[in-house]
């Protein structure tokens, strides 16, 4: 009988080590009595599999083109669907005429929206399903929509103007009800980190820096666009989805269709990236999943509906732009006395554009902090969380300001940060990163390579070093379940509904289960990505590994317990005296008394042992956040304004890395994505017509192989992240400091301060000429 975890379990108490292994702190933790004692970071070398680099198990499928993504699914009789989005940014829909589309040979179903208000170009208007992608495109073009266009506002700073066209009536704004509303603004939203008295703090300051910083809108641009294959069999609906959250798809679609969840099955074996845009049932700006299901029902055939790249840019979410005003006060010795952080962010037609996270979390010794955020609405697609949402923008503003303050104070920016650091983890990370980048080579005088040791200036190409901090949090979803099944023949299955979004989750879970069971990871057959399997969390907030690892371990532990009960009589021992490793079960005190895993399994009375476990409660830990710091070396051609990243060192903590190979890949990937945002990416809307002029991958420029730099990732494991595997997520934290680290390095190289991204030649040349004038 499968076991279930009940809520409000009685807890046990034990002493744990917390923090850095080099300088542990004592901590008393209270896991549920049904939970198991956490893995000890001191014992990493003693693990068989955990902590050892391991190529990902699905690698061979991916490198040979055999891995099937949603975009690859083909079902018998399948039709191809296509969305039609609004062509204009603000309008009333007067009519939608699908008659010509319906009359086209090969068109099998049509859908139109009931909504008559358009607030962004790309908003769902209609959809068709046809026998081929080409016919679907032909049909889509035959749908005639007539609009009564309205004035629109396309960009943050324009939308803030008092005479800007209104995106919403004040009572319709999708921001918290408690926020003030004015024009296109909702706010201010105070930060939860507000503390002290900033007025007093500024009064005490000996030096003050004020600066304004700006980040544009970025799109997620996963390579696999959003989409689903929807297939009905009677009342049973099967959806193949390119998703980060299978169960959210099931929940959202069943609710929208008014059907019972149990009749909806969602499958995702492999998916081609999401970065936060695929956490919901469809996308934040389109209900294509639901539409595909309706088309399939209407047509009586499965429908594959994938967005194209143009649509992907418009309606699947984006990172809000941010305008940030930062004011910092400090004593001459660098002690911060006050920080005031104000940001205005545009998430298009959505709210939630806050960026004050880093400002509130960093430089924790500063006693006086105040942050206020405003949402600014524009007639553009709604945002979706994008890899540490709001944080890379917020860190750009704050950490650039800290750097400018350091310059004013004449203090090394690394020393300034150390002086105000409250996190022992980050404090330890500073020197690790500084050593790796060679911080001592830094130009003492910005723009003057003769004052540093970065080599001789190559004519107009100047090098510099910069750094910035990041922060993140330990989130975990307790709605995480795992099933372990040991068969009588000794084979083992690990079954989790949770999806693998490409982080190496699969492999990590096999390692955890294998470690606990004392077998090889290759002997764990992992089945995942199906809502028929035990429910798992959405892969957002960097929760997946630390949500699932402890429950996988617990399930494996319970299965192991049952195997020990079977093995005990064979060894003339009690189950609690046994241990397991290398596919064997043995007496812990006398390893010669041994029986094989398969031998023990063969003793089971039934066909299999099943254990189904819900994740134990996250227990309190010495801190609930992730640190992180990053160092960058750049080269700037001061005549052309072209910036090249030469090297970046990223120091992060993530609890216990189960598979350091894939963990490091996450960090390296985040650095590259951050550098891409810093240097190139910019969603551009035409200021007169309001539609996106670069909805492609040609002029929405993503960092490419020729732009690649030397990237180094250093992990500082931290004990006790609140669960029995001491794991924590890593997908997001490393991206937070990147924008500022690059900008600060550019300053060190050139004495030019770029306060607006991306750092394309035009902005860098502008900053250079301002620096020369100063």
């Amino acid at each position: 009988m499968p076991q279930e975890q009940k809520p409000a379990e009685p807890t046990s108490t034990f002493q744990a080590k917390a923090g850095l292994p080099a300088s542990p702190q004592p901590l008393e933790v209270h896991p549920a009595t049904t939970d198991i004692k956490p893995w000890d970071l001191d014992n990493v070398a003693g693990f068989e599999h955990v902590g050892k680099p391991r190529p990902r198990i699905e690698g061979p499928l991916k490198v040979t083109g055999k891995a099937k993504y949603t975009f690859d699914i083909k079902l018998p009789g399948m039709l191809y669907g296509r969305m039609i989005g609004a062509a204009v940014p603000a309008a009333e829909i007067l009519s939608i005429d699908t008659s010509q589309a319906e009359a086209l040979a090969g068109v099998k179903a049509v859908w139109t929206t009931d909504s008559r208000v358009v607030r962004f170009a790309g908003q769902d208007v209609a959809a068709v399903a046809a026998v081929s992608p080409d016919v679907a495109r032909d049909a889509a073009r035959l749908v005639k929509v007539s609009y009564k266009e309205r004035p629109f506002t396309h960009e943050l700073r324009e939308a803030m103007k008092p005479d800007a066209p209104r995106v919403f009536n004040l009572d319709r704004m999708p921001s918290g009800r408690d926020l003030g509303r004015n024009g296109n603004l909702a706010g201010p939203r105070p930060s939860r980190s507000n503390r002290g008295d900033v007025e007093k703090g500024f009064a005490e300051a000996e030096v003050v820096h004020e600066g304004t910083y700006y980040c544009p809108v970025h799109t997620h641009s996963p390579l696999e666009t959003h989409g689903v294959v929807a297939s009905w069999e009677g009342e049973q609906l099967t959806i193949y989805a390119s998703t980060q959250a299978l169960f959210a798809v099931r929940e959202g679609v069943s609710e929208a269709l008014g059907i019972d969840r149990k009749n909806v099955r969602v499958i995702c074996d492999h998916m081609g990236g999401g970065f936060g845009s695929k956490l919901g049932p469809s996308a934040t700006g389109s209900a294509f999943s639901v539409v595909a299901c309706r088309l399939a029902k209407q047509a009586g055939a499965p429908v594959k509906l994938m967005l194209d790249r143009h649509q992907e840019h418009l309606c699947t979410g984006n990172a809000p732009s941010a305008l940030m005003k930062v004011k910092l006060g400090a004593k001459k010795d660098g002690t911060l006395t006050a920080a005031l952080y104000q940001s205005w962010g545009s998430a298009g037609v959505a709210g939630g554009a806050g960026t004050s996270g880093p400002a509130g979390a960093l430089h924790g010794k500063n006693p006086n902090f105040k942050a206020e955020e405003w949402d600014v609405f524009t007639n553009a697609g709604p945002s979706a969380p994008l890899r540490a949402p709001g944080h890379s923008q917020g860190a750009f503003g704050l950490e650039s300001a800290i750097d400018e303050l350091a310059e004013k104070l004449g203090i090394d920016p690394l020393e300034l940060r150390k002086k105000n650091e409250a996190s022992p983890v980050r404090m330890a990370q500073y020197d690790v990163g500084a050593k790796a980048i060679g911080w001592e080579r830094r130009n003492r005088k910005a723009g003057d390579m003769a004052t540093g040791r970065l080599g001789a200036a190559l004519g107009p190409r100047k090098r510099g070093l910069g750094m910035a901090n990041g922060n993140w949090y330990v989130f975990a979803s307790e709605n995480s379940n795992a099933q372990v099944r040991v068969h009588r023949d000794g084979s083992v299955e690990l079954i989790t509904g949770c999806q693998d979004i490409g982080t190496g989750y699969r492999t990590a879970m096999m390692v955890v289960a294998a470690e606990e069971l004392g077998i090889e990871p290759g002997d764990v057959a992992l089945r995942l990505g199906d809502t028929q399997f035990p429910e798992g969390p959405g892969s957002g907030g960097s929760v997946t590994t630390n949500s699932m690892a402890p429950v996988v371990r617990l399930a494996a532990n319970q299965a192991r317990g049952k195997l020990f009960e079977l093995a005990a009589p064979l060894l003339g021992a009690k189950p609690e005296e046994l241990d397991a490793a290398h596919g064997k079960i043995f007496l812990a005190s006398d390893k010669t008394k041994v029986v094989g895993f398969k031998q023990a399994a063969a003793k089971m009375s039934g066909e299999s042992i099943e254990v189904l476990v819900k994740r134990p409660k996250q227990y309190e830990t010495f801190r609930g956040d992730i640190a992180g710091t990053q160092f960058a070396e750049v080269e700037v051609d001061v005549e052309t304004g072209v910036v090249r990243v030469v090297k970046m060192v990223s120091v992060n903590d993530c609890g216990l890395p189960v598979n350091p190979l894939t963990t490091q890949s996450q960090v390296l990937g985040a650095m590259i994505q951050g550098a891409s945002w810093a240097l190139f990416e910019n969603r551009v809307l035409d200021r007169n017509v309001g539609t996106m002029v670069n909805p492609n991958l040609e002029m929405y420029k993503i960092l490419a192989p020729a732009d690649m730099f030397e990237a180094e990732s250093i992990l500082t494991p931290v004990a006790n992240m609140g669960n029995n595997t001491s794991t924590a997520g890593i997908g997001e934290p490393p991206i937070v400091p990147t924008l500022a680290a690059v900008a600060n390095a550019v300053f060190n190289a050139t004495s030019a301060r770029v306060r607006e991204l991306p750092m394309t030649p035009d902005r860098v040349l502008q900053a250079l000429s301002e620096a020369r004038r100063a």
């Binding site: 062509a87 080409d134 495109r137 032909d138 073009r141 005549e639 052309t640 304004g641 072209v642 090249r644 240097l679 190139f680 551009v684 035409d686 200021r687 007169n688 017509v689 539609t691 002029v693 670069n694 909805p695 040609e698 002029m699 420029k701 960092l703 490419a704 192989p705 020729a706 732009d707 394309t760 030649p761 035009d762 040349l765 502008q766």
Partner: protein, 323 residues
């Protein structure tokens, strides 16, 4: 894409006739620019006539007098890799070799490259009905013009997109056209047309004509170079480019050709920069003067003023590289 017929021509005459007999038909070479147009419905031809099946259009050869003959269907990769081109016309080899990506260069042809339509993002989006698509506005004027022109604009301001055209003009190339009234040869410098004459066109190719071959005179006695400034290190349209060819004897420039790319509606020959070089030694001073002269008469738009400095810098550096 719209539904179309595909016909594989076997001669240039046949190709022209196949186009003529079905109005709206277009020729297809590598298809790179054409497929982009088709996918965005910028054109909806009833028929595509394939030139790739015509023998003899993709040869690259060098005449005894050093004239380089490029079949219009030679790919950018073939031009860039050709030993003779690399040796005698390095600016052309470089422009072809740095264009786009390896995948594009393996299919895109030199003929298609010089004939391609602008990359202006308004032009490339169906929803913007600009001058080039029969409308009456250039959206760049009051809109997002950071990638648009400094010279030769009006009434459209889209930069001429061809990288290869820039050194071809610098080398004094000629385009050999095949047409219903027989062939004609047009100097590259005369081939590209300012929008003031006809905003819907970028060159003088008449309906029914096709580009067969590009003939590039020997560059013996000339030193030449081509450089670009790009945002991304590779696989990016240049912000500005420059091809400079100098004939130097007794330490002094006798003839100069300075051609700018991506800053004008046609490959832009800078007479002022050339004047600043003729009679001077190639060095820092003349390079600086050429750079300054090259931006004379520049008419920046609201967001592309940064290109002025880039032009001056790039011209200076390109001249310096020939010292």
């Amino acid at each position: 894409m719209n539904r179309f017929e595909l016909v594989r021509a076997q001669s240039t005459t046949q190709a022209r006739e196949l186009v003529a007999e079905k109005p709206g038909s277009v020729l297809k070479a590598g298809g790179i620019d054409l497929l982009d147009h088709l996918k965005e419905h910028l054109v909806e031809p009833p028929r595509l006539v394939d030139l790739k099946t015509i023998p003899g259009l993709s040869q690259i050869s060098v005449d005894k007098d050093g004239t380089l003959k490029l079949g219009a269907l030679a790919t950018l990769a073939q031009v860039a890799a050709h030993a003779a081109v690399r040796a005698s016309h390095p600016a052309l080899a470089r422009a072809c070799g740095e264009a786009a990506s390896p995948q594009i260069r393996n299919v895109a042809t030199i003929g298609g490259n010089v004939l391609q339509r602008p990359r202006c993002w308004y032009y490339r989006l169906e929803s913007y009905k600009c001058f080039k698509k029969g409308g009456d506005v250039c959206f760049a004027v009051a809109g997002e013009n950071r990638y648009h022109v400094l010279f030769g604009g009006g009434p459209v301001f889209a930069a001429h997109p061809s990288n290869a055209a820039v050194p071809l003009v610098a080398y004094g190339a000629s385009f050999v056209l095949d047409g219903p009234k027989g062939g004609r040869v047009v100097a590259a410098a005369d081939f590209f047309q300012l929008p003031a004459q006809d905003p819907t066109r970028e060159n003088v190719l008449e309906p029914g004509e096709l580009l067969k071959e590009i003939s590039v005179p020997s560059a013996a006695g000339w030193k030449s170079a081509y450089f670009e400034v790009r945002e991304r290190a590779a696989f990016d349209w240049p912000l500005v480019s420059a091809a400079i060819a100098l004939k130097v004897s007794a330490g002094v420039v006798r003839e100069a050709r300075v051609v700018l790319g991506q800053v004008a509606t046609i490959p832009w020959r800078s007479a002022a920069a050339e004047k600043a070089l003729v009679g001077k030694a190639v060095g820092a001073a003349s390079a600086e003067a050429a750079g300054k002269a090259a931006v004379e008469g520049a008419q920046p738009m609201s967001d592309n003023g940064y290109k002025v400095d880039l032009v001056a810098t790039l011209v200076r550096r390109t001249v310096e590289s020939l010292a």
